[in-house]
């Protein structure tokens, strides 16, 4: 078995649900459906669907940090905001020509990752864990929100980019693909849909390979028993930091896509409510698996959207109720519980073997 096949074999493994031809056939059907979807819809609706998609990266990042690594972070929105503002500042100053928006995307994500590396260094090398990790990360995102909220004055500017306090930063250019015979501007429409869908597939499959790799093995080992993991010779702080940074970069990607989608970002994207929502998506779906997190996030966002249209003020209350119900009824996640229920008749009745052998 050469290195490449071993690499691709990691698309399935003990850390991810779904294996074998049936699963991948299902995956391709869903993907084909997603690709065909714009043919049966109008540009405006497709543009709104992209809005859902932009959040999924942040959810998958949290799934990695929390579900696989066992570290509950409320800080995803901090990295979301940093990358969102970063993208705004870069593109307002340097424009969108020559594909610079994609350079700005990479730089903004790198900025979020760098900030996460700095924060994570003090958290993990200072051996902060459990509830304190949650408290510190929540504080960081709230501090950032407060800070950005007081930048209304004209003196708060970076180059041409006014930070604009609570009203938020706007009018940055959307993502633009350089193309012979005229750049393609990715407004919230079919083109942007395909670009983001492509990113989503790459990130999802990439994360599957990551969590089934030796790195992923150590990650779940740290979640299960950090002392044992360290006593097998692993520097668990480095693994935790690496995971935190990858998760933060994905939150940053969400931030950039969100900002370019609406050409708009405000401090409240880093506020209390915003910080709590990723926890709800990931917990309701089933944090210990990438696929259930993905399905759960799309489902919860769709429910949230429907509620906002039909009875806006209750949407957040329902989100809260959903989280409480999940914790009480299916602590490992509703989608995960559902997946197990569906899979039950098809799996051999081996004693207590939920996931099977590698």
């Amino acid at each position: 078995m050469n290195a490449l096949t071993r690499f691709l074999h990691r698309l399935e493994g003990p850390q991810t649900l779904g294996r074998g031809p049936a699963f991948w056939a299902g995956f391709l059907v869903v993907l084909a459906g997603a690709c065909a979807y714009p043919l049966f819809s109008d540009g405006y609706t497709v543009g709104n669907t992209v809005y859902f998609f932009t959040w999924i990266f942040m959810a998958l990042g949290l799934c990695l940090i929390w579900g696989y690594g066992g570290a509950l972070s409320f800080g995803q929105t901090a990295f979301f905001g940093i990358a969102g503002y970063g993208y705004g500042i870069l593109t307002i100053n340097f424009g969108a020509a020559y594909g610079f928006t994609f350079v700005a995307l990479i730089l903004a994500v790198a900025l979020a990752a760098l900030f996460a590396a700095l924060l994570g260094y003090f958290l993990f090398f200072g051996r902060i864990s459990g509830v304190f990790l949650g408290i510190v990360t929540l504080s960081v995102t709230l501090v950032l929100e407060r800070f950005m909220a007081q930048t209304a004055g004209p003196e708060w500017r970076i180059g041409n980019a006014r930070l604009n306090g609570f009203n938020g930063m706007s009018n940055m250019p959307p993502l633009t693909l350089p193309w012979p015979g005229g750049d393609i501007v990715l407004f919230p429409d079919v083109q942007l849909y395909y670009v983001v869908l492509g990113m989503l597939v790459v990130v999802y499959l990439g994360l599957r390979i990551l969590v089934n790799s030796p790195f992923g093995n150590v990650l779940v080992a740290i979640r299960e028993n950090p002392e044992r993991a360290e006593m097998l010779g692993y520097d668990i702080r480095k693994y935790q930091l690496g995971t935190f940074v990858i998760g933060a970069a994905l939150a940053g990607l969400s931030g950039v896509l969100y900002t370019s989608w609406g050409q708009y970002i405000t401090p409240s994207s880093m506020g209390m409510t915003a910080a709590a929502l990723p926890i709800v998506w990931v917990a309701v779906g089933g944090r210990s698996d990438l696929t259930t997190t993905l399905v759960g996030t799309v489902t919860v966002l769709a429910v949230f959207q429907a509620l906002t249209i039909h009875g806006s003020q209750y949407a957040l209350v329902v989100m809260g109720a959903m989280l409480v119900l999940t914790v009480l009824l299916a602590p490992s996640g509703l989608i995960l519980a559902l997946a197990r229920l569906v899979a039950r008749p098809f799996t051999r009745r081996e004693n207590n073997n939920l996931r099977g052998d590698a």
Partner: protein, 251 residues
């Protein structure tokens, strides 16, 4: 040169002097058992050697190198390995995955699967490879963790009550396994209460009491030592104090 050595090791928790000037040395190839009544400081000494506690003073040497300032994982990488008292396994993962996590960086990827199979057979866990580790019987959990610990091919194996909760048969089988590993060159330091087990495996026994080395010698010396019997019975008779060992009991 001893493989592991503690020099005038002290550990205080506030006013509590848990490890008191402990000098302990294990030669390569030795099986050494650490015994003593509850609260003698056995676990603390273990954690000091592992780097989970930092000593208040003193030094720890591994194969001649001062490792006092090293982190736990660095000590493990130098050739130590440990089995905890409460089975330290990854409960929500399969037995096979537990071993894979322990072994993945010690073997070529192409040979990893067969090495895991070999160890599973050695541990008599082949039929349970796919089960979640948390669902194993207590004895099997102990064996799984011993398997993880020895899969690192350590020079020094630290065992904290390896036979706790095992049946007499399982205990004896564990003892035989330790003798086999020792015959291959592994040095072993074990905290143990089961005197039959100590008699089976130990070349040398150290009795800790109130944080100090109270007595040291072969198992026969220790069993014949009336002072040791006295501290286990929790009484300090006039007879016992009269025959006190150097560095012994001051009650």
């Amino acid at each position: 040169m001893p493989l592991i050595e503690t020099r005038a090791l002290n550990k205080r928790f506030g006013g509590l002097h848990v490890t008191n000037n402990v000098d302990l040395a294990l030669e390569t190839g030795e099986v050494h058992c650490l015994i003593g009544p509850n609260g003698a400081g056995k676990s603390t000494l273990f954690r000091l050697i592992l780097g989970e506690h930092t000593p208040s003073s003193g030094a720890i040497l591994f194969a001649g190198e001062d490792i006092t300032a090293l982190k736990s994982f660095q000590r493990i990488r130098r050739g130590m390995s440990v089995k905890f008292q409460v089975p330290g396994i990854f409960k929500a993962l399969s037995v096979r995955q537990n071993l894979e996590i322990a072994m993945q960086h010690h073997y070529e990827p192409a040979h990893l699967a067969e090495e895991i199979d070999r160890l599973l057979a050695f541990l008599k866990l082949t039929a349970d490879a796919g089960r979640l580790a948390g669902n194993l019987s207590h004895g099997q959990k102990q064996w799984l963790e011993i398997g993880m610990a020895i899969s690192l091919k350590p020079r020094l194996l630290l065992l904290d009550e390896p036979t706790a909760g095992m049946s007499p048969e399982e205990t004896h089988a564990t003892g035989e396994m330790i003798q086999r590993l020792n015959a291959e060159g592994m040095t072993v330091l074990a905290v143990e209460h089961d005197m039959a087990f100590v008699r089976q495996v130990a070349h040398k026994v150290t009795v800790l009491h109130l944080g100090k080395v109270f007595a040291q010698g072969s198992i026969d010396d220790i069993v014949a030592n009336e002072d040791v019997a006295a501290i286990y019975l929790g009484q300090t008779t006039a007879h016992a104090t009269a025959h006190q060992q150097p560095g012994g009991l001051h009650a």
